[in-house]
Amino acid sequence: MDDDERERLRLRLVRSFCGGVPHNRALGIEIVDVTRAEAVFRLPYDPKLVGNPDSGVLHGGAITALLDGTSGAAVFAALIELVPIATLDLRIDYLRPAEAGHAVTARATCYKMTRNVAFTRAVAYHDDPAAPIAHSVGTFMVSTKPGGARP
């Protein structure tokens, strides 16, 4: 098995792991894409996730869960092998309200990986990443198992 094949298998494993996360399934999250150090998830519009029934706008919490999950997947996608990770912190800036009736997509990047800590940024948007609904930065603790993370 060459490196490319190993990488493809690893990313497929990340996809299937994230797709099986119970809360992701409960939210109806679709795993759109997982590439090296990057993940794209899509949250279809669902009335049960609404924060304000007057406007039909999704609750910020659903966007938080989407960004947290996508960011975690980006960290997994940056690891050489799948080891446990834990969110240390996550900051979310809500830039504008989501629009009722529209799916929200999140794209996350693990932009820095160290032995112990992974750093992520992510953006949530409807159709155009240049018109974001929310932006987040996060840090994740990576398993201390030796050799688990890229140096």
Binding site: G20, V21, P22, H23, N24, R25, A26, P47, K48, L49, V50, G51, N52, P53, D54, L58, H59, G60, G61, A62, T64, A65, L66, L67, D68, G69, G72, P84, A86, T87, L88, D89, L90, R91, I92, D93, Y94, P97
Partner: protein, 145 residues
């Protein structure tokens, strides 16, 4: 009836659950609210659909973020009697311990109630109040319109 009118009615009646149930997403998370020892405590009842890591198992970090944000909003609407729906500007969560598959409680404390923005600190805990599993702070826009 508008959401804010439903919230005001529930507050007048002292009906915490009607207040929480007015928000569909709060029902999805299984939130309840109650005044405990002079504090408004929001509880997320454990359910399997809240799990993020089935191997441990541990709650999904997003559910804790959502619980903390909700606790802050309920504190603003119920106790600080904000008459507009607060809009979250920014939310920062520190995850301190993994969330066990049990009920999780949260409360928010208003640190500054301004004319345009309000700052709130939040904490979430499970069995041991003295060992919070997450801490957070958030800034809300509380202007009309």
């Amino acid at each position: 009836m508008t959401l804010i009118a439903r919230l005001e009615e529930a507050r007048r009646a002292g009906d915490h659950q009607a207040f929480v149930d007015a928000v569909p997403y709060a029902r999805f998370l299984g939130l309840t609210a109650a005044e405990v020892g002079g504090e408004l405590v929001t509880t997320m009842r454990y359910a399997d659909h809240l799990v993020g890591n089935p191997a441990l198992p541990a709650l999904h970090g997003g559910t804790l973020g959502a619980l903390l944000e909700s606790a802050a909003i309920f504190e603003l609407l119920w106790r600080a009697e904000t008459i507009v729906l607060p809009k979250t500007i920014t939310l920062t969560v520190d995850y301190l311990r993994s969330g066990a598959p049990v009920d999780t409680h949260a409360r928010g404390v208003v640190t500054r109630h301004g004319r345009r923005v309000t700052n709130v600190r939040m904490e979430a805990w499970q069995a041991d109040r003295a060992a919070p599993i997450a801490m957070a702070h958030a800034i809300f826009l509380v202007m009309r319109g």
